[in-house]
């Protein structure tokens, strides 16, 4: 029956592979020595990370006066980066959990690396509010623990506290989801490795997985449960992030459209980052048979539809400003499009709304260099979206006497560069030490080649 399905849809795995070919191909990059390309990418990322660590060290030692913030613009670069990184994480959960619930089998080629991307992106995101506290060594004050100050509990009515719970839950659940997904693959690596340190480490990490059908049944149940939990979780996380803004009375922030607008934007930016990583990974790690042009095509379509939702949200914001009859609201939006930060606004609109429209064309979707340029521009555009929302809403407030401008200092830029360093260093290490494609999942989802039984029996006897 499986043969019938295979002929109706384009195959998930090309190149006429058997099940054991899949194991071999996906594990191959781990067996090879790293290439010169990998080393140069790793060197570059590590350098960026070191720059970031130095910058963070300096600003914690000196204080956040090293930033370009002022009394009017109290949030800028750091919160922009925070929202940018959290948003990127969301596509990973969309691919691993939401598409799992919708039974989209093509997700198996990209879910492992998208989940890894989520983990690393949320790590990068977490750093920014932590530094912004000024005294990050007191970060534990955000946890409601019995203390000697009363005990004075945390403020459960503040969206900033909701954010602490949302982001830490998201990080924890993403890590668990990723690890549970890795268990069968770690066992695969254990069984195919020669005795040595790799076999020892994977046999500890795979928790004694042996492929028993009873365990598989429970495992599938738990995987489904985790996907069902992660789906509302991912929506709640960015909803809460948007409430950091929407519950304030700042014109430009105080709108009910923020939660869906932020969630769509998050998934949009995350898909752009997944595509960026996948286009590089399939080439560098020779996984073209697994991450096929069909995968790229589907992710492009998904990204473009998200881009259209984001475009609709931009339009709705302007309409609501006009329709509210609120002078402050109207001023903020006029100022966004025509004020001193108009260049940032129009960069955002071109990168997020106009350029992705090119993806309507099948021909452009199947031209990798074009797709690559578009996804990079979407990454840039989505960073500017957060910058526009935060800075343009703040810099000209109710009193013209307190209007101010904002420009980032070198320290802020170095911290941002450092977060990219952390992200890519982690991702490159992940590509070396873990299977970048979920081996057990792709075997179950793809209809792989079957050898005639006689051939296998002969082989089994010879073994």
């Amino acid at each position: 029956m499986s043969d019938v399905h295979a002929s109706l849809r384009s195959p998930l795995v090309t190149g006429d592979k058997t099940i054991s070919d899949v194991t071999r191909d996906i594990c191959a990059p781990m067996d090879r020595k790293p290439t010169a390309l990998w080393w140069s990418a790793f060197g570059l990322s590590l350098t960026a990370l070191i720059v970031g660590v130095a910058a963070v060290w300096y600003q914690i030692a000196t204080g956040i006066g090293t930033w370009g913030l002022n009394k009017t613009v109290g949030w800028a670069f750091d919160i922009t980066n925070f929202v940018f990184w959290v948003g990127i994480g969301h596509a990973g959960t969309l691919i691993s959990a939401v598409l799992f619930l919708f039974r989209q089998k093509w997700r198996t080629a990209v879910n492992r690396s998208a989940e890894a991307m989520t983990l690393f992106a949320v790590m990068c995101a977490g750093i920014f509010p932590l530094i912004h506290m000024g005294r990050p060594w007191l970060a534990f004050w955000m946890m409601p623990y019995p203390n000697t100050r009363g005990p004075l509990w945390v403020n459960f009515k503040s969206p900033l506290l909701w954010d602490v719970f949302a982001i830490s839950t998201y990080l924890a659940i993403s890590a668990v989801f990723w690890y549970v997904g890795l268990l069968p693959d770690l066992a695969t690596i254990r069984d195919r490795s020669e005795p040595g340190w790799r076999k020892r480490i994977t046999s500890i990490l795979c928790l004694g997985w042996n492929g028993s059908a009873r365990t598989w049944l429970r495992y599938e149940t738990v995987y489904l449960l985790l996907a069902g939990l992660a789906t509302p979780l991912v929506f709640s996380v960015h909803t809460i992030v948007s409430m950091d803004f929407a519950t304030a009375v700042i014109p430009g922030w105080h709108t009910t459209i923020f939660p869906p607008y932020f969630v769509a934007g998050a998934i949009f930016s995350g898909l752009a980052m997944v595509l960026t990583l996948m286009i590089i990974a399939r080439k560098v790690m020779q996984l073209e048979d697994y991450i096929t042009m069909t995968h790229i095509d589907r992710m492009c379509k998904l990204m473009m539809s998200m881009g259209c939702i984001v475009g609709l949200a931009y339009g709705t914001e302007f309409f609501m400003a006009f329709y509210s009859g609120n002078g402050y609201e109207q001023f903020v939006f006029k100022n966004r499009a025509l004020g001193p930060f108009a260049w940032a606004y129009w960069t955002m609109v071109s990168c997020n709304v106009l350029i992705p429209q090119l993806l309507w064309s099948r021909k452009l979707r199947s031209t990798l260099p074009v797709v690559f340029v578009i996804v990079i521009l979407v990454n840039v555009g989505m960073w500017f979206e957060r910058f526009v929302i935060i800075v343009t809403s703040l810099h000209r407030d109710f009193l013209p006497s307190s209007w101010a401008s904002y420009a980032p200092t070198s320290i802020e830029i170095a911290t941002f560069v450092g977060s990219f360093g952390l992200f890519f260093t982690c991702f490159l290490i992940f590509c070396r030490i873990a299977p970048v494609i979920a081996i057990a999942e792709i075997k179950g989802a793809a209809h792989l080649k079957k050898r005639p039984p006689a051939e296998s029996i002969t082989e089994e006897k010879a073994a």
């Binding site: 099940i19 004694g208 997985w209 049944l217």
Partner: protein, 179 residues
């Protein structure tokens, strides 16, 4: 369980599924099957009941949401009353987000730890690996020979109809391992 089992190796999930179904229909007891990936329909062929881990998830989630709601209420309106912008102390809507996160956190961790506990998976466990290719491309079916009327030759013949690559007899050791 008797001390003798029959071990059949297959190359394709379809063969394993059909063989499992046939073996169970013929009234033999299936000890377990080992597969490189989750074979859908195998639980039905083996006659396994759906997992009850969903209840663990539900219970943990309920503990999370109710526990956190109670804690938020107790800490902000009983233990140390905190006036935030003139809002009521026990303002339920603002308690929802954190209670939801607590539910997801406990339900997620609870069901994963329950999975590890019932499947006896833990770091450092040394499982018996009957065939190392089971995590690569082989499907194993383990049949109990408990029945007095177990006709090894007949079962062997039946399994070969489903393209079994190898059929061998093993002895179960007291710990459950095979020899």
């Amino acid at each position: 369980m008797s001390d003798r089992v029959l071990l059949a190796t297959f190359e394709h999930e379809d063969d394993l599924l059909a063989a499992t179904d046939a073996v169970r229909r013929s009234g033999f007891k299936i000890v377990d099957a080992f597969t490189p990936y989750a074979v859908h329909g195998l639980e039905r062929a083996m006659g396994l009941r759906p997992s009850r881990l969903t209840w663990v998830c539900f219970l943990c989630g309920m503990i999370g949401v109710l526990g956190m709601l109670w804690f938020e209420h107790w800490s902000t309106s009983i233990d140390w009353k905190l006036d935030v912008g003139g809002k009521p102390w026990n303002s339920l809507p603002s308690d929802v987000p954190v209670a939801f996160e607590a539910a997801v956190l406990l339900a997620g961790f609870g069901s994963v730890f329950a999975l590890l506990a019932v499947s006896r998976l833990f770091p450092g466990k040394q499982p018996q690996i009957i065939n190392p290719r089971v995590t690569d491309d082989r499907f194993l079916l383990v049949i109990d020979e408990a029945d007095a009327g177990f006709d090894t030759a007949a079962v062997r013949k039946m399994l070969q109809e489903f393209h079994a690559l190898a059929v061998e007899e093993k002895i179960t050791l007291p710990g459950g391992d095979l020899q």
